[in-house]
């Protein structure tokens, strides 16, 4: 149990560095620390599927973020800080955490998962779907409709990114411009 707290502590430290550091490149690398620690945590929490996915996705995220960062020559950023925003967000987040802790007091305790519907998957997953990896059985058979949505989300975002990265968005000199007589 102590391991979880330690790893989560590393994640929190990493994200503090990522948020507060002035150098963009170090900030992106610290996000990498958070992500890779998360994947170790997934592994310890009994989710190897997620761990492997998190590692490879984290690599992609780092590559893409570094691509965005190196488009600037100087990766040091000035400390532009909006004091009002900082104070108000801290107050809001403090309230949020207090309410959350009241709510969590009545939540199901950690380490004793309820398993109301999941017990069915574990008991009958292999017999009903033929897949011995129960997570795969869920994402591609019991809840395959979700996965169709998931694949579509990735498709949409790639399509959207291509659309955004078009060189020319509007045609020049089309009819509307002629009409204005500009």
């Amino acid at each position: 149990m102590l391991t979880f707290y330690l790893l989560l502590g590393i994640m929190i430290l990493g994200s503090i560095v990522a948020i507060e550091t002035r150098n963009l490149l170090s900030s992106v690398i610290s996000v990498g620390i958070v992500g890779f620690t998360l994947s170790i945590l997934f592994l310890m929490l009994g989710a190897p599927d997620l761990a492997i996915t998190q590692v490879v996705v984290e690599i992609l995220v780092l590559v893409i973020l570094i691509r965005a960062t190196i488009s600037v020559d100087n990766t040091d950023i000035e400390a532009t800080r909006d004091n009002f925003a900082v104070v108000s967000s801290l107050i809001f987040l403090g309230l949020f955490l207090v309410f959350a802790s009241f709510a969590f007091l009545e939540m199901h305790p950690f380490g004793k998962s309820l398993m109301r519907t999941s017990q069915h998957y574990l008991d009958n997953g292999l017999a009903e779907t033929g897949a011995s990896n129960i997570v795969t059985a869920i994402i591609l058979d019991y809840r395959a409709y979700d996965t169709l949505g998931e694949a579509t989300v990735l498709f949409v975002s790639v399509l959207g990114a291509i659309v955004i990265m078009r060189r020319i968005g509007r045609k020049r000199g089309v009819k509307s411009m002629e009409n204005t007589g500009k």
Binding site: M11, I64, A68, I77, A85, S118, Y121, I139, I164
Partner: protein
């Protein structure tokens, strides 16, 4: 309980980053941290003490899986959520690059041609 709160603290830090930081890349990092926190929260919910991964190997009996495995459903949800997070991040980075090209800066206080 404490571990849930720590996870929510991570979530709150992502929100803080989004509100208080004015740099586009920092905002993207804030969204990434938010994603991490929620994904971790979902997996923590499904954890069972001394749990084994929900995968049945050949030399493993069905009873062991049924009794000791962690909850597989949140893991399936998190898999979907990771992909969605990746998609949103790709879109954000591409828009941030375009904005940099147009305004020659990543600072949101200077990117404000829209009023109100």
């Amino acid at each position: 309980m404490t571990i849930y709160l720590m996870c929510l603290f991570l979530f709150a830090m992502g929100l803080y980053c989004l509100v208080a930081k004015r740099h586009l890349i920092k905002k993207i990092i804030g969204v990434a941290i938010l994603d991490y926190a929620v994904n971790l929260f979902l997996v923590l919910i499904g954890y069972k003490e001394g749990g084994v991964p929900p995968i049945l190997f050949k030399d493993m009996s069905q009873q062991v899986l049924s009794r000791q495995s962690v909850d597989p459903l949140p893991q399936a949800l998190v898999l979907t959520s990771i992909v969605i997070g990746l998609g949103v991040l790709i879109m954000m980075v591409s828009i941030a690059l375009r904005l940099y090209e147009k305004y020659k800066t990543f600072d949101t206080s200077e990117i404000s041609r829209l009023k109100g």
